[in-house]
Every structure is written in structure tokens, then in C-alpha cells.
Amino acid sequence: MQELRLELDDLAIDYGTRRVVSGVSLTLHAGETLAVAGANGSGKSSLLRVLCGLQRPSRGVARYVVAGEIMQPDAARALIGWLSPDLQLYRELTAHENLRFFAQVRGLQLSDADLEALLTDVGLGGRGNDLLAAYSSGMAQRLRFAYALLHNPPILLLDEPTVTFDERGAALFERVAERQRNRGILVIATNDPRELRYGDYVLRLGI
């Protein structure tokens, strides 16, 4: 595992005049998991959007240190996998077409067998040629896992990862979380006690 850490320094996120996240400072190393908890509207999802460079903090710094090089989150996107209820894939495309498209724009050369293996890993084996529009919410969530894991990211950000899952889906999350410990950093935004226990550290927002 290469040298990798996430550093937050006095991070704050505002929406208009309302400050939802304030003064967060921490360092997270490869092999560690951060669980972020808090009530609805406390800024869990916003914090994860900052960590993947989709949103800028109102104050403070979020950065990654990768093999000695300091990277802002938007410059580190090739290393980040993100899963969120806000994340939608293309409903008019099949699961295979979605994954192939995102592999191509990421510059990955994946064969059909690679994509099928990934789909099987997330529990969608044999369903790759179905349109996403025909998927149930749980199946769509599994495809979001495949999107997030497509490039074997050393930084994995999971926002409410099991919210639409049954028990077998929850097992997928547990497998991914365990695997990520050997791959790099994992950040989970959740209020589910079963997911919180994966955190080496728990950050409670809105207190």
C-alpha cells in the first residue's frame, strides 16, 4: 500500500448564512476508516462531496498526500471512488454500457469479462445487459458500488451505502469495507450502527 493520507484542517462548509460543518481537523492514513455520523442536514453528504472535489469548502483545507505529493481533492479524482444517493447513472443505458462508458472516460481498458466479473462481485452477475431503468432501487445501488469500485480506488467514499439494501446487500458493503482496509482510505457517512462499527474513528457532525 503506497503512502496515502487525508488531511482536513479547520474545514467548514456553509449553505448561505448557515454553517453546517465547522472546524473539522483530522488526519486519516491508509488502512484506516472514518465513519461520519450526524442528523439529517448535519453536512455528512456535503463533507463527502468536498472530499471528492465536487464541492469546495467555505473555509479550511481538505487535501490528500499521495506518495509525498500533496493533491487537492479535485486533482485526486482518479484515486477516488464515490457512492452516494445523489449519484445517478444513465437509466437509458444497460449496466454494461454504463460501466464501459465510465471505464473509457477514466482511461481504463477493461474487457467484457472484467466488467462481468465486477458486476458479479456486486451481485449483478447475468444482469449486465438489462437497462438501468429496469433495475430496482437495491440493484441500482449495487451498480453504484460497481461504479465506485471500477478503478480500484485507494480512496473510497461511501454515503449511506446500505440505505436501499436487503441483508445480502449489507453483506456486499461489509465485504467492500473489509477489502478497502488493505487498499487505502475508507470514509463512510452513515447513522447505521452496523456501519459505524467499521470506523476506526467516528466524526459526529451537528453537535
Binding site: 465536487l54 449519484l87 445517478q88 437509458e92 443505458l93 472516460v105 477514466r106 482511461g107 461504479y147
Partner: protein
């Protein structure tokens, strides 16, 4: 090279999505057909005896039909990404320039289809006489390139606004006025049957306009897309 592969992937994805949803295609085609048919029914075949500036009027009508159809459809490739909430996934995975180039290419393909249809309908229903078909086609292609160069960046700007349609027209109009003036005047020359010696100037202006706007867009798009 990787950038071009990614841009081509964005283009192919948009084509595949469009063929399955007909999100922009139906609106564009419906607008183009209804405009030309309405003009044809309202004005009838325009004869030279009715107006000395006939070629200019015909050229203007043709470009206005193209412009408004373009307003209807060309913003949709970006607006659809925001409305369907797929933009975040795309932002995270694809280089901004690949997104721009892919969308530019998709809009160009869509507009060329629209322009070809509008031109054929105008020739049939408005009895549009084309004195110099080669110059006529070159001007339509050059004008389309300029139109796409301007509208693709504006579509990205307005895609997250709440009043997208109005904002698109407001921002696009001042940018497109010079393009339209040159395209209309140039097309008039082609309809009148003038040669390439007269038609080369509007073609050069349209090419310069397109190059300038694409260059500016390449610099600005990253900020627009990420903001």
C-alpha cells in the same frame, strides 16, 4: 490520445442515449418541420416579383428557422445531465475537456442533421433556389460550426440555472448576432449564384468566429463545468 478516446466515449454515450430517449431529436425535428411548413403555408412560394430583396429574406428565414430549432435542442445535452443528476458521476470520472469535446461533437452532429433537414424542406416548401449549391452547403456547415461553438459553452453555463430556456436565449443572442448577420449575407450570395470568389469572405469570417469561440471555450470550460 486518452483525452480524445474519452471525448469519443462521451460522444458515443450521448448518441446512444439520444437514440433511446429522443430527448433532443424530437424537439429539434418538430421545430424545424413546423417552422418551415408554417412559413410555406403563410407566405406561399416567394416569387422575385414580390420583393427585390427576396434572396436576403429567404436566407434570413432559413437561418432563423435553424437558430430557433437550435435553441430548442442544443442546450439539452448538458441540461439532461443535470436534470437526470448524472452530471456528478460524469464530473468525477471524465476529464472536463473530454466532456466539452464530446458534447461539442454531439451537438454538431445533431445540428448538421437539423440543418440538412431544414435546408431540404426549405428548398421543397419555400421553393428556395440555390444558385451555388457548393457555396450554400459550405456556408451552412461553417455557420453550424459557429452556432455549435457558441451554444455548447452557453449550455454548460445555464445547465444548473432554474430558468434555463430564457437564460440560454439571453446569453446566446448577443454572441450569435454577428454569426447570423454573416451567415445570412453569405447564404444570400449562394442563393443568388455568386461564385466562391465572393463567398470566401463570409466563410473566412465564420471560420475565424468558430476558432475564436472554441479556443475561448477550451480555456473556460473547466471552470464552468466545475463551478
Amino acid at each position: 490520445m486518452m483525452l480524445l478516446v474519452a471525448a469519443w466515449a462521451v460522444f458515443l454515450k450521448d448518441v446512444r442515449s439520444e437514440l433511446r430517449t429522443r430527448y433532443a431529436l424530437n424537439a429539434l425535428l418538430l421545430f424545424a418541420v413546423s417552422t418551415v411548413v408554417a412559413l410555406s403555408l403563410g407566405l406561399g412560394p416567394l416569387a422575385p416579383s414580390r420583393n427585390a430583396d427576396l434572396r436576403l429574406i429567404q436566407s434570413g428565414l432559413l437561418w432563423i428557422a435553424i437558430l430557433f430549432a437550435a435553441f430548442t435542442g442544443l442546450s439539452r445535452s448538458f441540461v439532461q445531465e443535470e436534470d437526470a443528476r448524472t452530471a456528478a458521476a460524469l464530473r468525477l470520472a471524465a476529464p472536463p475537456l473530454a466532456v466539452y469535446l464530446g458534447k461539442l461533437l454531439f451537438n454538431l452532429a445533431l445540428l448538421l442533421l437539423l440543418v440538412a433537414l431544414t435546408a431540404v424542406l426549405s428548398i421543397v416548401f419555400l421553393r428556395l433556389p440555390v444558385g451555388n449549391p457548393g457555396l450554400f452547403a459550405a456556408l451552412l456547415i461553417a455557420g453550424s460550426l459557429g452556432l455549435v461553438a457558441a451554444t455548447t459553452l452557453i449550455a454548460a453555463i445555464i445547465s444548473r440555472a432554474s430558468i434555463k430556456g430564457a437564460l440560454f436565449a439571453v446569453l446566446a443572442f448577443p454572441l450569435l448576432v454577428p454569426l447570423l448577420v454573416v451567415a445570412i449575407r453569405g447564404t444570400e450570395l449562394a442563393l443568388d449564384g455568386f461564385g466562391w470568389d465572393r463567398g470566401i469572405l463570409p466563410l473566412q469570417v465564420l471560420a475565424g468566429y468558430t476558432i475564436a469561440l472554441v479556443t475561448v471555450s477550451l480555456f473556460l470550460f473547466g471552470s464552468v463545468w466545475e463551478t
